[in-house]
């Protein structure tokens, strides 16, 4: 009977304590990933768009996921908590790396990644010293096992007439180089459906290093299948094995083609039907 009284007393005592206004969720995922909300500039300027980003600092061996996580895993999601008039757009995903999970394949990031988001700042900003920007990030970190995380991150920025670069500016610039660019005007990209594979032809006017294709749509290609690259004059032809889950032939092939460090291109082409090459 006494122990019930003690527990009751402790509960009441705990509830009465002055907890911080913003509760920081400390879960096991925190041991393997440090998250932070950062901004490219050091202040909010009325009416001026600002780049924010969710920074992931991952423990060695641990990884998180791209917008298309691949055969397993889950892409991070951000739930913004912003003052009235502010609006954040979608995550601008840097190109990922291949994460083998034999016999399958995932897509994501190891060591560290910054996921940038463009923030619209209202032109009628309140005249206050600082404003609080916050978000809840739902994410998954894995090594041999996976741990889901939910992290509350926040940032207070002063409101000023002008802003300068923040300490995170360099990271934003490096990340920008990893964002997929539109295909150069003089390139010719085409895709064909050929039996059990898609053939993606990229003509750049010069030879290309063996490219990697990262599909933006889930369940179109076999993520783990080797992507055979054949040199053609002025470019390359990539053979992408179709997913066994394809029930209807897709009309478009969308993905990121990476031809080297910081050389990622957004590809979005119609798929034409053609006879398999070299058919006997």
């Amino acid at each position: 009977m006494l122990h019930r009284f003690v527990y009751g007393f402790l509960l009441v005592a705990l509830l009465g304590m002055p907890w911080p206004v913003i509760a920081v969720w400390q879960g096991p995922a925190d041991q393997h990933a440090k998250l932070a909300l950062v901004s490219e500039q050091d202040a909010l300027v009325a009416g001026k768009t600002l780049w924010l980003g969710i920074q992931f600092d991952l423990q060695d061996g641990w990884h998180t996921y791209w917008s298309n996580p691949g055969d397993s895993g889950e892409a991070p999601r951000i739930e913004w908590q912003l003052p009235p008039g502010f609006q954040a757009d979608e995550i601008h995903w840097p190109y990922p790396e291949r994460l083998p999970v034999p016999p399958f394949m995932d897509y994501g990031y190891a060591h560290e990644v910054l996921l940038p988001v463009s923030l619209t700042v209202p032109s009628n900003l309140k005249d206050v010293d600082s404003m609080r920007l916050a978000a809840r990030v739902n994410y998954l970190v894995c090594r041999e096992v996976c741990i889901p995380g939910k992290k509350q991150v926040e940032l207070s920025l002063p409101v000023r007439k002008d802003s300068g670069p923040s300490a995170a500016r360099e990271q934003f610039e490096a990340t920008r180089r990893r964002l997929p660019k539109p295909v150069p005007h003089d390139w010719k990209v085409s895709a064909a459906s050929a039996g059990g594979e898609f053939v993606l032809t990229v003509k750049a006017g010069h030879s290309l290093e063996a490219p990697q294709f990262f599909p933006l749509e889930e369940e179109q290609i076999e993520n783990a299948a080797p992507q055979e690259a054949k040199r053609i004059s002025g470019g390359v032809r990539l053979h992408l094995k179709k997913s066994k889950h394809l029930t209807k032939p897709p009309t478009r092939l969308r993905g990121v083609v990476v031809t080297g460090v910081d050389k990622a291109y957004l590809v979005d082409v119609a798929v034409s039907q053609s006879r398999p090459e070299g058919s006997m």
Partner: protein, 201 residues
Amino acid sequence: MHRKLWCRFAVVLVLSSTMLAVKVGESAPNFQATDSNGQAHQLSKYHGKFVVLEWHNNGCPYTQKHYESGNMQHLQKEWTGKGVVWFTVISSAPGQQGYVTAAQENEYLKNMKASPTAALLDPQGEVGKLYSAKTTPHMFIINPDGALIYDGAIDDKPTTEESDIASAKNYVSQALEEATAGKSVSVPTSRPYGCSVKYVH
């Protein structure tokens, strides 16, 4: 003329050995596996019944979502009660997350009040690789004629949140309801979500 024929034959041989992954609509490959009570099961013995294969890893947060909520147990009870054969399959390699001995699995089933027809122990990953099971959970449904009619996620909310279950569309129930009513399965495939199956390698 003969060379072309041999060439074609050789290609077919190579292709058929690499294209092991079964597609929806095709005949589900027969397997043999031992359950947590030491009993052997063969898929072919269940011809004439609907069979559900549920890939499982008790340490994976996505599996835990469906077990801690009671969702998976509810499905097992509902559908085995209607004559469906339900196999929980564990393809985790020894030493990997999800690997269980027969005794451990029986303890888990008892604690979780789970009621699959049987829990198949597949530590070498033979059944898993035969079906290309990617995640836990990953669900497959085979119809009484032995055809694969569903291959994919348990539902349409690919998260670890228990609160997502109530509003999710359960693809397994939907497929079984349609197929048992003689209708075609409206969603035969979906991206399975979860942790990767911890195969031996």
